[in-house]
Symmetry: C2
Subunit: 103 residues, 2 copies
């Protein structure tokens, strides 16, 4: 479908969704969930490799233990951005991040 047609349809009030959706999750949303799950695993591994508890890790990352725990679980109330910030806060490098995301 060309863009002019899309704009015309949109003007008429139609929802012009892409067809590549599955169970309500778009390609983009699925890719993001994948990355979040990979990051969660990496966070636990990183923290343990440093010998830290969730309490001490939370202090290092300047947040609460409860939120930190949610981050490690890729809880739905946690953004990708927060997960990445915490990963960096634990000392992870950009290289480690990219390796994790590529999983």
């Amino acid at each position: 479908m060309d863009k002019l047609k899309k704009e015309r349809l949109q003007k008429m009030g139609w929802k012009v969704g892409d067809v590549d959706e599955f169970l309500g999750l778009s390609h983009a949303e699925m890719a993001i969930v994948e990355m979040k799950v990979a990051l969660a695993k990496a966070l636990v591994a990183k923290r343990k490799s440093l010998g830290e508890t969730q309490v001490s890790a939370a202090i290092i990352a300047k947040t609460s233990q409860s939120r930190y725990a949610k981050v490690e679980h890729a809880d739905s109330s946690v953004s990708l951005e927060l997960m990445i910030k915490m990963f960096f806060a634990l000392g992870a490098t950009k290289k480690e991040l990219l390796k994790t995301l590529s999983a």
Copy 2:
């Protein structure tokens, strides 16, 4: 500073910040800003390579032109997650994303 000391200080109400801060931006925050800027560039390039305008790109990405414009500028009101979603919405692959982030 060991973690036990950190926990003790925190209990006493002190703010125990890391020293590696510059102009208020932590290492993590700077890394994220870097990634956002790289993504913004990639988004513009991607959109243009598809021959789309901000209006048509916004429709494809299911948002408004105004928000889409902010995304392309890595505006402070835009999250990393939204930028990634839009990049994917324009058809970018995980590989392209990683390449962009590694810049």
